[in-house]
């Protein structure tokens, strides 16, 4: 076969891949738009106040693993204690911190060891103790001290200790809206079928003014990296998750903030500590189990920004995070490979899993190969560079269009970045992002796959710079 024939075929293959992505994103845009529009209309008259007064509302156990969080943990707990919800408990799991996380909690909240039969239902690393407060104001706080085992292991320990039927798994340093629990429990109450999990929209907290665990002012981050991630989160939440929720094919509820039906989680076996993508893996397993048991169920998604989290601001940490995400995705897809194109699993098997396989996991690899391919052609074929320029411009303009659509949805729905200059800065970020941010993330993903093949298992540590605090007056 002649070179030009190979080139021709490869070109058409890349084009088909591209067209499928385009169509997919267009559909995602349409579905997401419909969901946002409906939600906006609904909140005009639906109020959660009767729920607040009701003792019939299901009680919630908030589970928050903590590792080396001594700087902020007491403040984070304080903001959790102030959440608006009639009946809930907070379970902090100290995952064998090497710093003074536990001591600070004990001191601040007047904790004493609780003599309490702890049933290791889901097996975890050794639990050294459970603490409760002597002070009545903090009677709904529990702290578990255990040997280090990772996030999944800690959450399982939390599940073993949780008193209530609904568990809410969060990252301890996330800032939650005061009515976050009220909003996130709604799908559990409002559906005709059993709801096994619900999630919401996660926002980027970097550079926002947070006082006493409360979001006071939303500001745009200074760094390009954080801003690029804001755009990414817009794309992922305002277009991705919403569309999937519309189709009932949601495979991932963010580990930063998600609510689950505890009994279903236990029936499914709890979190899998052997994978780094434990949040996705659990939901997939839960959905799969319900499907296999032929039970009707739903996964809820609340199109409301309920949780704010800090994103990596250094390239190194970002690389580690994306590397881990890729390994997690690959591991989950491999564990549940039987679902791929399996009609028994309906939307999950025929749409969601294939999508994650080809467009989330495989896409970075294909892009990576594509770059090599182009370089190869540039060097060895006689084709005019202008041709590549045109291809490049097509891909680039599509990427920009997709991000701008996400920004448009944000403008249509929440407009959380109030100052007009923020919009201009975000537009500037959108123009630069496909050139600098995206290739980096893609490379991290490819490296993630390589690392996975080489057997890397660690999480890596995230350096917390601490969310911006305003100067406290005395």
């Amino acid at each position: 076969m002649e070179l030009y024939q190979i080139v021709e075929i490869a070109n058409w293959l890349f084009l088909i891949f591209g067209i499928v992505i385009c169509l997919g994103y267009t559909l995602a845009a349409i579905f997401s738009f419909l969901e946002i529009r409906d939600y906006k209309r609904r909140i005009r008259f639906q109020t959660e106040t009767p729920l607040l007064q009701s003792s019939d509302l299901p009680s919630v156990s908030i589970l928050a693993p903590a590792f080396n969080e001594e700087t902020n943990v007491t403040e984070n707990v304080r903001s959790l204690l102030n959440l608006n919800y009639p009946n809930f408990e907070i379970v902090i799991i100290n995952d064998g911190s090497k710093d003074r996380t536990l001591e600070k909690l004990i001191k601040k909240y007047d904790l004493e060891p609780d003599k309490f039969y702890y049933h290791q239902f889901v097996s975890t690393k050794e639990v050294r103790g459970v603490y409760r407060s002597k002070n009545k104001s903090f009677k709904n706080l529990k702290v578990i001290d255990k040997k280090n085992g990772g996030k999944a292991d800690s959450l399982n320990a939390g599940i073993n200790c949780a008193d209530h039927e609904i568990i809410c798994c969060i990252d301890v340093d996330c800032v939650l809206q005061q009515d976050a629990l009220l909003k996130l429990i709604k799908p559990f109450l409002d559906s005709e079928e059993k709801v096994i999990a619900s999630g919401g929209i996660i926002r980027v907290a970097n550079n926002c003014i947070i006082e006493d665990g409360r979001l006071v002012d939303i500001k745009l981050p200074d760094t390009f990296l954080a801003r690029a991630q804001i755009i990414e989160y817009f794309r992922a939440f305002l277009m991705g998750r919403m569309a999937w929720s519309h189709l009932d094919g949601l495979l991932l509820i963010s580990g930063a903030f998600g609510m689950f039906d505890k009994e279903t989680v236990i029936e499914a076996g709890g979190y899998d500590a052997s994978t780094v993508g434990e949040d996705m893996e659990l939901l997939v397993r839960m959905r799969r189990m319900m499907r296999e048991q032929k039970q009707k169920y739903r996964v809820g998604f609340v199109p409301d920004p309920l949780c704010w989290t800090e994103v990596p601001q250094s390239w190194k940490i970002l690389h580690r995070q994306r590397n881990r995400w890729t390994r997690g995705t690959a591991e989950t897809l491999y564990i549940h490979r039987r679902m791929l194109f399996n009609p028994k699993y309906k939307v999950l098997g025929m749409l969601s899993v294939p999508y994650w396989l080809f467009f989330e996991w495989m896409a970075p690899i294909i892009e990576f190969l594509g770059i090599f391919y182009v370089l190869f052609l540039l060097l060895f074929s006689g084709i005019d560079p202008v041709v590549y320029l045109i291809f490049f411009i097509t891909v680039y303009s599509f990427a920009v269009l997709f991000s701008i659509t996400a920004l448009f949805f944000e403008e249509y729905s929440f407009q959380q970045y109030k100052k007009p200059k923020y919009i201009l800065k975000l537009l500037a970020t959108i123009i630069v992002e496909p050139l600098f941010f995206h290739p980096f993330v893609m490379f991290a993903a490819v490296k993630g796959n390589i690392d996975l093949l080489r057997g890397k298992k660690k999480w890596g540590t995230m350096q917390r710079t601490g969310l911006t605090r305003q100067e406290q007056s005395s």
Binding site: T49, L52, Q53, N82, N84, D212
Partner: protein, 121 residues
């Protein structure tokens, strides 16, 4: 002239209370969150505290505790959405005079304020 401190984060309620109480001849100080409430309480002599329980930064219970520390005889009226008995009990155990649930009747609230101030004298 008696001075009342109103601590409430709902702007509509705050404005209405301020208007109504001023009209009835009281001097009214206003705070929209717990922290501001504590500050105003520390820096001023007040004759009555009217507060919500769900407040930003410093919640109502903590505010009430601090108020009682500063002046154990200070009449305190709680204005809250909660109808849960245990919360109402907690409030009364702290020494609160009266507990009004939202939505409330402004005229009735005004009567209770008058009564509490009278009892305190």
């Amino acid at each position: 002239m008696k001075r009342i401190l109103v601590v409430e984060d709902n702007p509509m309620i705050v404005k209405s209370l301020e208007f109504k109480l001023r009209q009835e001849g009281y001097e009214v100080l206003v705070a929209q969150d717990g922290r501001q409430g504590v500050e105003l309480m520390e820096n001023n002599e007040i004759d009555l505290l009217l507060t919500d329980l769900m407040l930003p930064f410093v919640n109502g219970i903590q505010l009430i505790e601090q108020a009682k520390q500063k002046d154990p005889d200070l009449p305190i009226i709680v204005l809250s959405t909660s109808k849960q008995e245990n919360i109402i009990m907690d409030a009364f155990n702290l020494g609160v005079e009266d507990f009004i649930t939202k939505p409330f009747n402004p005229n009735e609230l005004s009567l209770r304020v008058k009564r509490s101030l009278r009892n305190a004298d």
